[in-house]
Symmetry: C2
Subunit: 142 residues, 2 copies
């Protein structure tokens, strides 16, 4: 009889442990979500639109951005890519063809990672665009 | 003896149900996270930096952006605010003092909500800035 009670007890304990871990993993996931982006440093690489300029989004998304992202290691929280569609002001020209952005924890670590590789990163530009980008370093306020 | 087995069995069942619900709620949370931003429309209101121009971030964050966000209703997935710190290119001027962005499901619903209120929104500009913004409509690729 003792044995018949021990088995469900063990399963019960194991399932409570699993439940606890599930909660914890969800918590650390939330830690990476929007609310926790506040205070991060965002480096935006903005490609201004101009007639005759070209931009290969497929290469940018599948080759260039993943290559740079890999250099950033654990300092990188996430990166985003957006494709310009229109100006939000009627009769104005599209401001940017594309924008890529890296959300990092520390700017100095970003610079230390990118600095030595700057020439290699720039050498890859010709593979997807002939636009000289504008680069904005900002702080995520919300 | 039967009773003594039923109690742990009930607790066990209840804890598995709780565990399952936990998993499900985490799944639907992930559904609203970064991966699910892909395909959304982003409207960025970008305030270019210039000497002598002013921008009150506190008013922007606590009054202006929440006021516009409320107009957008359930079409709005999230909105973000960033504060420009520097150009990422040495010896270049800060490109933008601040950028606010609305991530929406449908551009036409955004325009339908903002259109009739455009004058009221513009009238609030003087409360926080004398900068004429650039507005970019883009698609979230990643």
């Amino acid at each position: 009889m003792k044995f018949r009670l021990i088995v469900p007890f063990l399963i019960l304990t194991a399932s409570f442990i699993a439940f606890g871990q599930e909660k914890q993993s969800r918590k650390s996931k939330n830690h990476n979500s929007d609310a926790a982006e506040k205070g991060l440093i965002k480096v935006s690489i903005m490609y201004p639109y101009a007639e005759g300029k070209t931009f290969n989004m497929e290469y940018y998304e599948t080759k260039h951005m993943p290559m740079v992202a890999e250099l950033l290691g654990s300092n990188l929280v996430k990166y985003t890519i957006e494709k310009g569609l229109a100006s939000g002001i009627p009769d104005q020209q599209l401001p940017y063809t594309a924008i890529g952005a890296f959300y990092v924890k520390r700017l100095d670590d970003y610079q230390a990672a990118i600095g030595p590789k700057r020439d290699a990163i720039r050498a890859d530009f010709v593979n997807y665009t002939n636009i000289a980008p504008v680069i904005l370093v900002s702080e995520v306020v919300r």
